[in-house]
């Protein structure tokens, strides 16, 4: 048993080394100095408090989306539609803020209602993918992909059309909200403690949901063997729907955070790929919720660190993306190799 554990850790380390080697190869082919690039990434993460708060700000939506997809993965579902669910969350939040902007309510209340609207929007969009799957027989991957396009198109329409800036036909975004509708931040720091609390709570909640509740156990049973779960008495399609609703709700919250704490308006790229990145993180941690927070933090750091590259080295910032993707591929590959070699069935 013990020996097995060490073997597993050894293989995981090998995966990281291989991923770094491969990324180095990519850098060499691009004609850049790998060492320089890695140092620049590190510098982008740690050189100032602003960098660190940026990392934390990126960590929040990533935590939310990772928490969300951990639920759908537990139910055996590939919620590719999470990007659209973030978008709809952002749209609903923006809508709520616009509606209440000129009301007599206190800013804090408006923001809270905006969050609830975002949660609702994401959950609805998630439920739609679920309905398509459960009642229409549309695989959630295709349904989700289609709904992502619809969500983007819908947001663009709002940005150019009804919610457009007066006199300007631009897809760059809606008008900035007044600062009283911004999630409050401490002076000189671009990080809202409120949003941070929401992000961390989501990870804690999902951890306990999947580990210690009947709901989580049934979800896992449905994900691993739907037929047997049904015969054991679990209402299976209902549980699939719950998974979509919950994941959508988390994604919607991520959208709400992006609107109220980061961009303070609706922009077409408001999801910033955090949905897909959340899927990557969930796969990398082998769907173990306990690892969600640290690994999401690592990925958020890579995201922020990569921003340095175009400025300093005239390289594309996608280097971080390369490393993020390659790491997942190598971890999965090495794990597969380990099982083939050492686990006889």
């Amino acid at each position: 048993m013990k020996e097995n554990q060490w073997l597993k850790i050894g293989f995981q380390l090998a995966a990281i080394v291989l991923a770094l080697l491969f990324t180095t190869l990519v850098l060499l082919m691009a004609g850049a100095s790998p060492l320089q690039a890695y140092l620049n990434v590190l510098e982008g993460i740690f050189s100032s408090t602003a960098d660190i708060t940026n990392v934390l700000a990126a960590w929040i939506p990533l935590l939310l989306t990772t928490s969300g997809v951990l639920i759908t993965f537990a139910a055996g579902l590939w919620n590719i539609g999470i990007e659209g669910q973030i978008m709809l969350g952002a749209v609903f939040t923006t809508g709520a803020l616009r509606l209440l902007e000129n009301s007599s309510l206190v800013g804090g209340w408006i923001i809270l209602l905006g969050f609830l609207a975002g949660l609702l929007g994401g959950a609805l969009w998630g439920a739609l993918a679920g309905v398509l799957k459960t009642f229409g027989g549309v695989n959630e991957i295709f349904g989700g992909l289609g709904l992502n396009f619809v969500a983007t198109a819908f947001a663009l329409y709002l940005i150019i059309g009804p919610w457009g800036r007066p006199g300007i036909a631009s897809t760059s975004g809606t008008l900035l909200f007044p600062t009283r509708l911004w999630l409050p931040t401490p002076t000189n720091v671009a990080l809202s403690p409120w949003a941070l609390v929401v992000g961390i709570l989501s990870a804690v909640l999902v951890y306990f949901l999947l580990r210690g509740t009947y709901f989580g156990l049934r979800l896992k049973a449905v994900g691993k063997n739907m037929r047997a779960a049904f015969l054991l008495g679990v209402p299976t399609w209902q549980y699939s729907m719950y998974a979509f609703l919950l994941c959508g709700a988390f994604a919607g919250l991520a959208g709400a955070v992006q609107v109220t704490a980061v961009y303070h308006r609706l922009i077409p790229t408001i999801s910033s790929g955090y949905g897909f990145l959340g899927l990557l993180v969930a796969m990398l941690i082998n769907y173990q919720a306990i690892w969600a927070a640290p690994i999401a933090l690592f990925y958020a750091a890579l995201n922020i660190g990569g921003i340095q590259l175009p400025i300093v080295m005239k390289m594309d910032s996608s280097l971080s993306g390369v490393l993020q993707g390659i790491l997942v591929l190598f971890v999965l590959m090495v794990e597969g190799a380990r099982q083939r070699l050492f686990e006889k069935r």
Binding site: F208, G212, T213, Y214, F215, L217, R218, K220, A221, K224, N225, R227, A228, A229, F230, L231, L232, G233, V234, P235
Partner: protein
């Protein structure tokens, strides 16, 4: 083509599915292969047709040893097999299916194939529309397509696995005519069946397999009693059993009808008494599993009623029945019964009624441990179910059944268990019966049926006997009924001689 099998051995784990089987089948004959479920018929045929490989032994075609490693190898050597469930492509057209197995060529050459198809179909008197989609065909027509396809691919040896299951009487006549024509053309036909009537009416020679061994070869004229005895072995001595129906009816089935794509079973009338055990006998696929699942609420009934006292439960779903104390135990453990990846504790918790929102893991672990001890499962609460052996998985399935229950519906409750465990499990089940639980169980083990049932229903090709008192049955009689012999002519026998429970 002459087919010779020499000393074929195949084991699956501890099961010796084929134990040194040798036979010689001359070309131009129809060879019957008879045996009960698990006798090794299918294994032997799959070895000959390349689906699985023998551990040991030799196959000779026309005296030349051949090595057959895949179905493609088999067909190259002229051996083709028709499976019980047609292995075709329902969303494609007949002609596409016809062409599909042919190797080589970038273009399908549909024109030439179409001509061959029509010629072959005419030869056998099959009327198949080559442009029709396969999912619009009956099972019999799909068989016809498969026969044409295999012959076109050059098959000289044709294996038919239970071909008369699920086809109409006219189609059977056509099929038999086609088989005789094939034999006349010099082909070798292997006819695998458990239906004595079909085998006796068609085959030039019959071999009987039992528990992996070839027990004998018979030529016509056939003696049915001899065949049954060869299939099932000698009569067994029966132990004591309870008096059966104590008088109170727990559930009643009135004119119940169920069906799937190949079978229709109608007019089932049965009163299930408290504490009674009813065995459902029949070859696999004769409708007993379908019936059991209908009573569990898993399969929609197409007619009749399921009553509990005065309450009509017809059409309710599985979870409704389950909440009402009706439990179902599926035969396929890892497919339907257990969730691979979850451990024993998690299973026990899933199977019990939820208490609140969060799980008390310590209590769950203790419960799992007590079940492990009670059912003698070799494992710990943290073992995942797929890491257990088959017998222990079976015990786990039984250990997950809630207490108390009103009705237990069991598919092969002791399959894969040794004698000792079987007796132990049945003692536990009988304890439940004494508390009023009724049991309906499907088993392909005749001894088990005769040993533990109070009454027996026998299924054969969509027909059901009335409930038979087990004291009137012997292994031989049961074997005959399972093989389709000794059935009354009337189609409504189930309603005719139903034994009325004492009021």
């Amino acid at each position: 083509m002459n087919v010779e099998l020499k000393d074929i051995h195949k084991t699956f784990g501890a099961v010796h599915a084929n134990a040194g089987i040798s036979m010689d089948i001359p070309g131009g004959t129809i060879q019957g292969i008879l045996g009960e479920n698990g006798a090794g018929k299918s294994t032997l045929m799959k070895i000959l047709s390349g689906f699985i490989r023998a551990d040991q032994g030799e196959i000779l075609l026309d005296g030349h040893p051949v090595s057959i490693h895949s179905p493609a190898d088999a067909i190259r050597n002229g051996v083709g097999m028709l499976h019980q469930d047609p292995l075709d492509f329902p969303p494609l057209r007949v002609i596409d299916n016809f062409i599909l197995g042919r190797s080589g060529g970038l273009l399908p050459g549909e024109g030439a194939a179409l001509q061959d198809f029509k010629k072959l179909a005419g030869q056998f008197g099959f009327s198949l529309d080559p442009q029709a989609y396969v999912d619009s065909l009956t099972v019999g027509e799909r068989q016809q397509l498969e026969i044409l396809r295999l012959i076109w691919l050059g098959a000289r040896v044709l294996i038919f696995d239970e071909p008369t299951t699920g086809i109409s009487a006219q189609q059977k006549v056509k099929l038999f005519a086609a088989l005789r024509l094939l034999a006349k053309q010099g082909m070798t036909v292997l006819f695998v069946s458990h239906k004595l009537e079909d085998v006796e009416g068609l085959c030039d020679s019959v071999v009987v397999l039992r528990q992996g061994y070839l027990v004998g070869s018979v030529k016509p004229p056939y003696d049915t009693h001899q065949l049954v005895e060869m299939m099932f072995g000698k009569e067994v001595t029966l132990g004591a059993r309870s008096a059966g129906c104590a008088g109170e009816v727990a559930f009643s089935l009135r004119n119940l009808a169920v069906e799937d794509y190949r079978l229709h079973i109608g007019e089932i009338n049965l009163d299930i008494c408290h504490g009674e055990v009813i065995g459902l006998a029949g070859m696999e696929g004769s409708g007993q599993a379908l019936f059991l699942r209908a009573v569990a609420g898993l399969v929609r009934t197409v007619g009749g009623q399921i009553l509990r006292g005065d309450r009509d439960l017809t059409g309710r779903n599985y979870h409704f029945y389950k909440r009402g104390g009706v439990a179902f135990l599926p035969a396929s453990r890892l497919e339907e019964g257990l969730v691979a990846g979850l451990n024993l504790t998690e299973h026990v918790i899933l199977a019990e009624e939820a208490t609140g929102f969060s799980i008390n893991w310590e209590k769950g672990r203790q419960l799992a441990q007590s079940r492990i001890t009670e059912f003698n499962i070799h494992g710990t609460p943290v073992n995942t179910v797929e890491s257990l052996s088959g017998g222990n998985q079976q015990r786990t399935l039984l250990a997950l059944m809630r207490v108390p229950l009103d009705l237990m519906l069991l598919e092969h409750p002791t399959r894969g268990l040794d004698i000792e465990s079987t007796i132990y499990i049945w003692n536990k089940l009988k304890e439940r019966c004494q508390q009023g639980t009724s049991i309906l169980f499907v088993s392909s083990d005749l001894d088990e049926i005769l040993q533990y049932s109070d009454r027996v229903l026998v299924f054969f090709s969509g027909r059901v006997t009335p409930p038979l008192d087990v004291s009137t049955l012997t292994t031989e009689k049961l074997g005959e009924l399972i093989g389709g012999m000794g059935w009354p002519e009337s189609k409504n026998e189930a309603s005719v001689h139903e034994r009325k429970p004492v009021a």
